[in-house]
Assembly symmetry: C2
């Protein structure tokens, strides 16, 4: 058998939560045939870096986003996924607070922007398909693992937590039902403090029980929606 | 940025259940520097095939095993994973009944053999690490999804099902506990038939409730061990 060589890229699906809205980080191609098109931030894999290193490098260079844990999603190898030569891409994904990251223009004059995940302009190549698969993975994750530790303030209201679930699952959840299920998991601790600076009736603030959070991350659960 | 070309392989972790024992399919290198060493069945990715097609082709060519659904596991890209040139590999995995597949010698004179997953000889390159990661994935799967439909006869005893779980989880399970948890899931239907051809007290035979099986596969669960 031959051992042909292949062109390899990495592409990042960075989900960002922004005040109850789920967004994805996109970059705009400034030059070449795809000029003006939006894409997931990606680049060629170099010879002396791992895929993980490439994913982090690309993200920083293209968008200014750094210090986040990228998880491998899937490797895409359809023969026609790129209109020119054959290119295989390894996709990564992460979920962060979008307001915690200042975006900057990359070295290729690519403009970086957070866009609502359900309102992306047609992305280049198979990037919309990669986004869909990442979104499915994220939806699965939120139903089986605790989520929110790095996404919510240290103390939060039950409504803020519900908004987080609703943004990811793209559905309205029943408030009493959501609260009942959440409390049953013993994941939340009431802080005896109330929201401040609101004109309506201030809601109770909760924090995560770290021990239960870690145990549930390890063990998993089923959150029915 | 350069667009260097990379050597890419696929490697398959095929788990086989054999009378309550969990095995993995390995091949023995017959020529070259690695002659006599055992490995996961793998090969170069060709220019005109997807990774999924390559994984199936390799498996058939090397071991005779065909018509199984291979799931992508992870792409491994450590710079030193191969002692010669840099090679990136995409690993796939599957779980089958080992007695349902007749092994044959591959075109490279590779001998194929099922070996107990906890008694593999030192595998080449990072294949032991790939096996460990596949095993962790399988253990996670068995705790969160129904398993056994393609692995057990249509009608089976609770003890046969327990042996399947024990083989994958590599632990002894408490019989009453296992039965209680299984029955609680409504996954099993009693057939009113008993085991035949046994000299001891014949056990009741069960079958899977297909509807519940599919629902639980979709929804997931937590099987605590």
């Amino acid at each position: 058998m031959d051992s042909p060589r292949h062109a390899l890229t990495v592409d990042n699906v960075i989900f960002g939560l922004d005040d109850g809205e789920l967004k994805v980080l996109t970059v705009k191609y400034g030059e070449g045939k795809s000029s003006g098109r939006w894409a997931l931030p990606g680049d060629w894999l170099q010879s002396q870096e791992t895929l993980e290193q490439a994913a982090s490098r690309v993200l920083l260079d293209r968008t200014g986003v750094k210090d986040i844990y990228l998880e491998q999603l899937h490797t895409f190898s359809a023969l026609d996924r790129h209109p020119g030569e054959r290119i295989i891409t390894v996709a990564f994904y992460a979920l962060v607070r979008s307001d915690a990251h200042v975006l900057s223009e990359g070295h290729d004059n690519m403009e970086a922007r957070w866009v609502n995940v359900r309102e992306t302009p047609g992305l280049i190549y198979d990037h919309s398909e990669i986004l869909d698969i990442a979104l499915a993975r994220l939806k699965h994750k939120v139903r089986h693992e605790p989520i929110g530790f790095n996404l919510l303030p240290e103390k939060f209201t039950l409504l803020e937590l519900q908004r987080l679930y609703e943004a990811i699952l793209d559905t309205k959840l029943d408030k009493p039902n959501f609260r009942r299920k959440m409390m049953k998991m013993n994941l939340l601790v009431s802080t005896d403090e109330k929201q401040s600076g609101v004109s309506y009736r201030a809601a109770n603030l909760y924090r995560f029980d770290r021990k239960v959070y870690n145990e549930l991350t390890e063990q998993g659960f089923v959150f029915e929606v």
